[in-house]
Amino acid sequence: MDRPRLLRPRLTTPMSLRDKIRNSQVWKSIFRHPAPLDRRNRVVVVLTNLVLHVHPVSIQKHALRFGFTWGMGLITFFLFVVEVVTGVLLMFYYRPTIEWAYNDMLALRDVVSFGVLRELHRWAAHAMVIAVWLHMYRVFLTGSYKPPREFNWCVGVVLLVLTLLLSFTGYLLPWDQLSMWAVTVGSNMARAVPLVGHEGPGQQILTVEGIDMITSGSDARYLLLGSPAVSEETLNRFYVLHCIAIPLVAAVLIAVHFWRVRKDGGISGPT
């Protein structure tokens, strides 16, 4: 039996593809709020987006002045991201062993396609050290280390040290004469650390019943190298420090650093 088709008046225009996407469950599950067409939703979209929320919803005008910040903090972070991306790609080929380290380093330049990644990694590392110093210089000149930002200054100092340690540990990985002797000389500094270096001041304090506790086989340098001299154990140790340990700590501290910038009142202004 045929029922007469119910004719409903069309109240709206047919949905465009754009509206269909915007009304789909997938879209709505990712973007919780309507399009940023009015002031309230512009705020809400920034607040609910992981990437966008790194920047505040509103900032003071001076904070956008290039001459005030030089953008060095952001450039440093950008260079860190470049280091992570190129570094992970290099790890796909590099083997931290005496047999392969130097050959793989050469092959990353001469044999693989787009053999510029190692150069990118190296130059970005140099640039990052420079950018970190300039960022610190700017923060000092603008007095941004003063209360209430003194804790974040200290976090920044630790990040500076981590940046230098990343450069130092990465220096050994090509495993050529330059890197090997540079790390030999550099790690000799650990001999002279007070108390924990076997040639450092105060070493003799840590003596139990006439027996030295801090010797060349138990001091900071030995811990760093994993052997009495720079060797394959050192290469492996520096590789783990360079690729995993230090970047992880740095990433956590970078997050703390950014968070504190916001919690301490945003980018400091002229007072």
Binding site: P9, T12, Y93, W100, V111, V112, L117
Partner: protein, 191 residues
């Protein structure tokens, strides 16, 4: 109620026929190249695409640090009947055998991988068989499976007499018995 919405022009207060030339209506090309912001995002997207393609290419190795697929294995006279040479197992994955197949004496190179799940077989001299340690498959000296779960005989590699009279094995070519390929003269040297 907006009951006559679909008769209204897309931009309120403007006749429908001017919509096509209205600068406020944006096509894809205009969105991509019409403003500095659009241009910037287009360039960013293009750079990202190029980077992804370059990265994908980078991850395909151009050189592999493995032994060459061809190697010399001595003279045919070094292989008396019934000999299974095991010295090429570790580096090349090859059993070099002087045995019989279909009643004819041949020298052939068997691949050491079991045809069940690919474990490396072991030559058991006392029992004159290749034994797989994983699931117990057994292969006789000619490479044919006779016990355990292996579904087909071991595979042969290409072998020939090189110009200097030595045997030369080429592990880049494979010959399978169940496909009738063991009659191919490229996979044995008559002895």
């Amino acid at each position: 109620m907006p009951e006559d919405l679909d008769t209204k022009p897309a931009v309120a207060g403007m006749p429908a026929e001017t919509c096509a030339t209205d600068p406020r209506r944006r096509g894809l090309l205009r969105a991509m190249f019409g403003s500095f912001l659009g241009l910037g995002f287009t360039a960013l997207g293009a750079a990202g695409g190029l980077w992804a393609a370059g990265t994908a290419r980078f991850l395909f190795p151009n050189v592999i640090t493995k032994p060459p697929s061809r190697f010399k294995a001595g003279f045919p006279g070094d292989y008396p009947a019934g000999r299974v040479e095991t010295r090429y197992k570790d580096e090349y994955g090859v059993w070099l055998v002087s045995g019989f197949y279909n009643g004819k004496r041949q020298i052939y190179a068997l691949r050491t991988a079991c045809t069940h799940l690919g474990c490396i077989t072991i030559w058991q001299e006392a029992e004159q068989k290749f034994k797989c340690p994983c699931h117990g498959s057994g292969f006789s000296m000619d490479g044919v499976n006779f016990e355990g779960p292996a579904p087909r005989p071991l595979e042969r590699y290409a072998i020939r007499i090189a110009d200097d009279g030595q045997l030369e094995v080429d592990t880049s070519r494979i010959f399978q018995e169940e496909l009738g390929q063991w009659t191919d003269p490229g996979c044995y040297v008559p002895a």
